[in-house]
Symmetry: D3
Subunit: 67 residues, 6 copies
Amino acid sequence: MPTIRIELFEGRTPAQKADFAAQITQACVRVLGGSADSVDVLFFDIARSDWSTGGVLWSERALPGAD
Amino acid sequence: MPTIRIELFEGRTPAQKADFAAQITQACVRVLGGSADSVDVLFFDIARSDWSTGGVLWSERALPGAD
Amino acid sequence: MPTIRIELFEGRTPAQKADFAAQITQACVRVLGGSADSVDVLFFDIARSDWSTGGVLWSERALPGAD
Amino acid sequence: MPTIRIELFEGRTPAQKADFAAQITQACVRVLGGSADSVDVLFFDIARSDWSTGGVLWSERALPGAD
Amino acid sequence: MPTIRIELFEGRTPAQKADFAAQITQACVRVLGGSADSVDVLFFDIARSDWSTGGVLWSERALPGAD
Amino acid sequence: MPTIRIELFEGRTPAQKADFAAQITQACVRVLGGSADSVDVLFFDIARSDWSTGGVLWSERALPGAD
């Protein structure tokens, strides 16, 4: 039944998300039990202009690659 | 005061969302009491490439209509 | 597949939640289509000391019954 | 460590978000302690057609400027 | 920077959560890149009386072990 | 209309939350406009045993004061 929400910077490929969702689901079944079918994973792409750390939006930082 | 968030596959029409929000709000007032004005409903459209069940993204499934 | 999260003041009875979840699920199927089994509803009880409107926690208001 | 999520009507400028994130972060450090670097703020733009209050979507109201 | 929220039935042990968080974090670094330190995982225990599927709270089902 | 959710380690006092909510609300009105009454702030206390950073729960770290 676990529902897993992932907020991450936009830009990851569908293949990366598919791979990550598969690995999380496998880890969930392995550690918590239950069936894989009961595990939902949702991705939320966040623009760097919508995420601030330390009071500064990531879109305003010099080092854009950090994540 | 209830705040209600709904995550659903993208593709529903504004009319469907308006109808669903109205019905939820009415049910909320009927069951929980309080005034309709205190009920907020927010919709979050999720792409099938951002939602995995059972470790597989819905965008990768053969039966795209399932929901 | 819709997932519905409801934040509300603590104090509602299990019967109220059961009734509300059933009505939301029925409305979801009626308006959006899909099967009832694909609809998840989660309740989050929020203490009045954890919810502020207009900059004032509800636990500090004179009229405690408002919702 | 606080993580702060803000849902607001779409249309605010990046400068407004940057300013708001900075002020929230400063208030967080001032009131709760901890370092600014541990404070994350995320913005979620919500279309008026995805937000209902009182059972009516904001996109369907006569007074579009309300917020 | 990914932030991961997990809603699951209450009752899992701290050891299970620690194990699951570690595995998710490792998968995140492996698949998405970035450093482990930038990955936050938060668990939300949900009572069976606060989670409905198909319009029925899990606390009201005959088979309490399902998850 | 902004709705603001704050996840933070449990242990803050009601006075701290009241102060923080008031300051956020004031900043919201100042920067984004709108009325204070339209600003909701919700706090979610997270146990250190439910929050992992870098793959390690905060309840398992030597320095318990960090936040």
